[in-house]
Structure formats: C-alpha cells, structure tokens
C-alpha cells in the first residue's frame, strides 16, 4: 500500500495523488532553478552594465551579498526546522553549530595554524600554495564541517535525551552559550591560542573552483571581490538546494515519520517501536549537519570566523524564521528565512533611509530591529499562529482544534492523579524509555 512508503499519501488517493504531488514538486524545483540562474545572470552580466539610475536602487535594495547571506540563513533555518519543526525538540542553542562550522572552515582554510611552516595544501587554489597552515578545498571542508557538527550534535544531544520542553530548551540554551564563549575566550587556554579570541580567524581562503572553472568557465577562485559574489551566490544556492532536497526526502521517509511521531507523543511513539534515542540523536545530527554547512559557507561569506557573530540572539533569530515561516514546512521556513534575513541586513536600513528621506528625520531604524521583530512575532502569534506558509497538519490543528483535545487532556490528568500517578516521567526512578 502507498501509505507504507509515504506517510502523507493515503491508500485511497494512491498513485494519482502521488504523481500530482511529484509533478508539482518538479514544477517547483524547476522554477526555483530557473530563478537562481536568472538571478545569477542578472547579477553577473546585466547589473554591471545597467545605467546608474537603475543599478543604484537594485544594488541598494537587493545587493548580492545580502542575498548570499539570506541563503546561508535558509540553510540554518532548514537545519533548525529538522530539530524543532520535524522532531519537536526546542533548541535554543543552534548558533553553536553555526560557530563550529565556521571555525572548522577557518582552521582548515587559513594560515591560523602557522606552525605548519610548509602548510598542508589539498585542493586549495594556487594563490595560497605558499602559505603555512592548513589549506583544504572548500568542498572538502564543507564535508568535514558537516561531519564535525554531526558529531557535536550527537554529543550535545546525549545529555538532553531525557529532557523535554522547558528543560530541553534551557540545556540547549546553555550549549549555545558555552560554545561561542569558548571561541571568544579561547586565545589563552593553558597558554595556547586556540581560537584567536575576539579577533577571530581571518582571512579564509577563497573558494577554489578547480575543475569547475575549466568546465563551466568560472573564475579560478571565488573570494570576497565584488566580481566573485554572483558565483558565491551560485554555490550557496546549490548548498541550499541540497538542504531543501534532503529536508523533503527525509521527511517522507521512515526517519521523518518517527520524528513526527515523537513530536506528537513520545511515549506512544516508543510503544509503536520508534527507537527514541536513535531518532532524537539523528534529528540533532541532521540539524547540526545543516548548521555546519551553513557555518562553513558563512566563513566564506564574511571571509573569516569572528567570535562576535555567534550570539544567542542569532539562535533566536533563526528560530523566529522557522516559527514565522511555518514550522515543519520546508517552503515556509525558506520564505521565513529569506524575508527576515533580508529585512535584517538590508530592508530595515533602506526603509529607514527612505523614511528619513521623505520626512527629513534622522531615525536609526535598523537599531530597532529586535523591537520590530518582536512586534512582528507578537502579531503573527495573534493573527496567524501557524506561520506564513504553514504545514498542513499544523494549520488543521490551529484552525479546528481536536474535539477531544480537552477530553484527552482531562483524561491524562485523571490518569496521572488517580491510578498510579505514573503519568509523569519525572516521577519514575528509571525511565527506561530514554536510556541509551
């Protein structure tokens, strides 16, 4: 039966629905690819040749760096969406993976480890061939960053396995503080300079395009120069597309189904045979992998790993993207990430300038960003709790609450008080369900 292979498709609506869904997905992906290519051509070929009167506003309202940053936020938000949206585990320390990814990128693509006089050069561009330190290919570093983050995701996940709700949030919050603090203060650990402290590690090598430059005619290196930004946009788009693809596929599969079950009711999921430890750790790991990819990309984007950029507020910012966009829905999360990241890095500034220009005022609109995001969040929660593009399931619940929701809450309370008082896992001495 179809329901076995895909939890979304139900038996009676079988093959035809699936076909329709597949073709609609194909249409979606094709149009996105077209959009990316069009944007690339526009920024690479057309924009530099346009008259200033046209090019000016475009590069002020939608500069390519801002769009690159948006793409990195898309990757981040998709990663957090796996943890929060799919598996329902509230993670307030997601910035930790971002930081780890960035620093892995910086360690492996800079002369920070200058003690290696001759340096280790694997797949790096010719411009850095003579430098000391480790210089690996950007693509290899992506994989390594993802792997390291997956490992940290599991390490951080382990102590949180038995926690739920508020407690889980607090512990993840702690990790989200500890790791960036380590990078900030890691320049004098036992006399060793491990992280270069607040100065951060900079610069990182430009992306070496290698064979791609021969085949596709790309420049040999893609770094921070304005001319290489459209190419970076292309690379980040590919990364984001991979994350979208993985998000969609994994959700329809067995793992996605087990996450959904855990999100709904952990105990019942376990009773159905969902291995809680494995499922939760893999949610953390997948989320962390996306975070690692985003982190390495971010190191390329800003040209280094700067400890100051990994603040608690960034975890919240990414979380807001997920919530505003529509928790659990990939397209919603992408929209949320893109819109909010753009507002933050460009929109507010430009709105402010326009506003000040019209009214002759001098209001620093961007400095009110968190006031504005907060207000936005409050308004969303009041009027559209399910997010901009909600997941079908969430929308249903919020629009038409289950008739027995109250009943079942009542019966839970009853069961907890009346029978053995064993409803709450906290009361049981050895809750085997979350034991590794």
């Amino acid at each position: 039966m179809t329901a076995l292979t895909s939890p979304v498709a139900k038996p009676p609506r079988s093959a035809r629905t699936r076909q329709r869904r597949l073709s609609s997905q194909a249409v979606w992906s094709l149009s996105l690819v077209t959009l990316v290519i069009a944007a690339f051509i526009f920024y690479n070929q057309i924009l530099p040749n346009l008259a200033d009167s046209v090019a000016g506003p475009v590069s002020r309202w939608a500069p390519i760096t801002a769009i690159n940053e948006c793409l990195i936020y898309v990757i981040m938000a998709l990663g957090l969406n796996v943890v929060v949206g799919y598996a329902g585990l509230l993670d307030l320390g997601y910035v930790a993976f971002w930081a780890i990814g960035s620093y892995v990128g910086a360690y492996l693509m800079s002369d920070f480890i200058f003690q290696l006089k001759d340096g280790i050069h694997i797949g790096s561009s010719t411009t850095v061939r003579t430098l000391p330190g480790i210089h690996l290919s950007f693509w290899a570093v992506l994989a390594i960053g993802a792997a390291v983050c997956a490992l940290f995701g599991i390490l951080i996940g382990f102590p949180t396995l038995r926690l739920r709700g508020d407690y889980l949030a607090i512990v993840t919050l702690g990790f989200g503080e500890i790791i960036p603090q380590f990078f900030t203060n890691g320049d004098r650990i036992g006399g060793l300079n491990l992280t270069n402290g607040t100065r951060g590690i900079t610069p990182v090598d430009p992306i070496n395009t290698g064979y791609l430059s021969n085949i596709l005619g790309l420049p040999r290196t893609v770094g921070l120069s304005p001319a290489s930004l459209p190419y970076k946009f292309l690379f980040f788009s590919v990364l984001a597309a991979i994350c979208v693809f993985v998000s969609l596929r994994i959700r329809g599969g067995r793992l996605g189904r087990s996450w959904l079950a855990i999100r709904e009711d952990e105990l019942a999921a376990n009773m159905m045979g969902v291995p809680l430890v494995k499922a939760k750790l893999s949610a953390y790991a997948v989320g962390a992998i996306f975070g690692g990819l985003g982190g390495v990309a971010y190191a390329e984007h800003v040209g280094g790993a700067l400890a100051d950029s990994f603040k608690y507020s960034n975890s919240i910012f990414v979380l807001i993207m997920v919530v505003l966009g529509g928790m659990g829905n990939v397209w919603g999360v992408i929209t949320g990430a893109f819109v909010l990241a753009w507002i933050n890095n460009t929109g507010l500034q430009e709105f402010g300038n326009t506003f000040n220009g019209w009214f002759g005022t001098h209001v620093e609109i961007p400095s009110y960003n968190f006031l504005i995001f907060g207000t936005l969040l409050v308004l969303m929660m009041l009027f559209r709790r399910e997010g901009l593009l909600p997941e079908r399931r969430t929308q249903q619940i919020l629009r038409e609450p289950a008739r027995t929701e109250m009943e079942s809450v009542g019966s839970d309370v009853e069961a907890g008080q009346a029978s053995e008082g064993d409803e709450e896992p906290e009361q049981s001495p050895e809750p085997a369900r979350a034991a590794p």
Partner: protein, 252 residues
C-alpha cells in the same frame, strides 16, 4: 459462560512454557513501591486479565512489561527470553504491543497515519497490508475514517484506533490497558467482543481492567491486584462464580 473460551487455555498442562512470565516483579516510583513481588503467567492463546482498583499497580505492571519502566527486582521473561531492561522498541520487536492507558493515539495525524505508525517496525509490506485490512474489518468504523484526524473522533472510536494500531505491530502478546475507560456500555461490549475475536485470531491478550465483571466474562484466567500485591488468582470463571469474592473484590 466461559467454558468454551477456557478450553483454549493450556494453563496447567505439564511442560507448557508460558508466553509471558513475571517472576517476583517489583517496581518502584522513587521510594514508593507500586508493584511488589508479583508472579504472573500468560500462556499462549489466553486472555488473561489483571484487575484491581485505582492505584493498584496495573498500569505500572504493563508499562514494565513493555519496557517503559524498569523493575526494581524480579524479571519479565517473554518466550523464554528475559526482556526486562530492554528499551521499549526492542520489546515491540520481540512481539509485545501495548495499547496504552488513555489511548494516546496521535491526535493530529489521520487514522490511516496512526495505523501506519503501528506497523512502524515492520518491513513486510504485503503482510502489513493484510493486517491492516484485518484491523479495518475488526473495526469497520475506522475504515470510514481513514482520512480523518484521529483527535476529532469520539472516545470509543479513538479506543478502537488504539487497539487497532497496536494490532498492526503484529503482536504475539497484546497488552490492553483499560480499553473500556470512559466508554458507553454499548461500546464496552463492542470492544470486549472484539478482544475475543482478536484472541480467536491467535493473539494472546493481557487485559488490564477496572471493569472487572466485563473483563472476567471474556478472560480465561484472572489476577487481582491490590495496592501492589497479587491477592487472588484463578480461572476467570471461578472468580466470577464465587459470589463472596465478586462482592468483596469486584464490587459485584
């Protein structure tokens, strides 16, 4: 009454290994002993009921069997293999499916998705499809509601879904925790009839109930649990016919 059903029981026959064997099982919540040193056997093909009032430790016993709690002492043996201490999903893999107290269906998922999750660990697609068909035949109302969100169904329907979902795990032993809780008498009868049908399909059932009379009518063997201790056991028919017992323990 129950002569016909008790004939399927292999209890008392020499050399027959019980399907499930609890020996000196004790479970604590912190310092509070919920279940103390109970011995309970379930033989293949039986409906065994564990009855008792609120707080007697019935659900605790079931939860310990299905690996959600760990015993303080004693052990749970299933098909000759010790399963106490195993994580919950391995217990399901071993062939014990649990329809929990309070149903705990996935409210926000459709009935169909709930049933699919019941078969989460199984990879034999054709057999799952057949079992699904079987469940939908046992509970025809579920078939009409496959697309409906489970949380919008009535209590009785949700209970049927909870039992059906557990059945899709292809259990050798089905643990049912208070399937009659909060249901109208008509529905209680329906559920209990279906439990008998399930037993007739070869699934062994361990039924926890407060509704002792209804449970004893369909059960082969019964245990009475009182504040953590087993105080009485015997063939269900005997317990049912013993008037003083029914008065004293079962409020009959």
């Amino acid at each position: 009454m129950t002569e016909a059903t008790s004939s399927t029981s292999q209890r008392g026959k020499q050399g027959v290994q019980p399907l499930l064997d609890l020996t000196n099982l004790s479970v604590n919540y912190g310092n509070i002993a919920a279940v103390q040193s109970i011995n309970l056997q379930v033989h293949p093909g039986e409906i065994v009921t564990l009855i008792g009032s609120n707080g007697a430790g019935k659900s605790t016993t079931l939860r310990t069997i299905s690996g959600l709690l760990r015993p303080r002492a004693g052990e749970v043996v299933f098909e000759g293999r010790k399963i106490s201490g195993m994580p919950g999903h391995d217990v399901v893999k071993a062939g014990i499916c649990h329809s929990p107290e309070g149903r705990r269906i996935f409210q926000r998922m459709t009935v169909g998705e709930n049933l699919d999750l019941g078969a989460f660990l199984r990879k034999d697609a054709t057999q799952v499809a057949a079992d699904r068909e079987n469940v939908l035949t046992l509970f025809p109302v579920l078939r009409e509601r496959l697309q409906q969100k489970a949380g919008t169904m009535s209590g009785g329907e949700q209970q049927m879904l909870a039992v059906g979902r557990a059945m899709l795990g292809n259990p050798k032993l089905l643990l049912l925790d208070e399937p009659s809780m909060g249901l109208a008498p008509v529905l209680v009868d329906l559920i209990f009839d279906t439990i008998e049908k399930i037993r007739d399909q070869g699934v062994t059932v361990l039924l926890v109930e407060q509704n002792a009379l209804a449970a004893l009518r369909i059960a082969d063997y019964a245990y009475v649990l009182e504040s953590g201790h087993l105080t009485l056991e015997g063939p269900a028919a005997e317990l049912l016919s013993d008037e003083s017992l029914t008065k004293a323990y079962l409020g009959g």
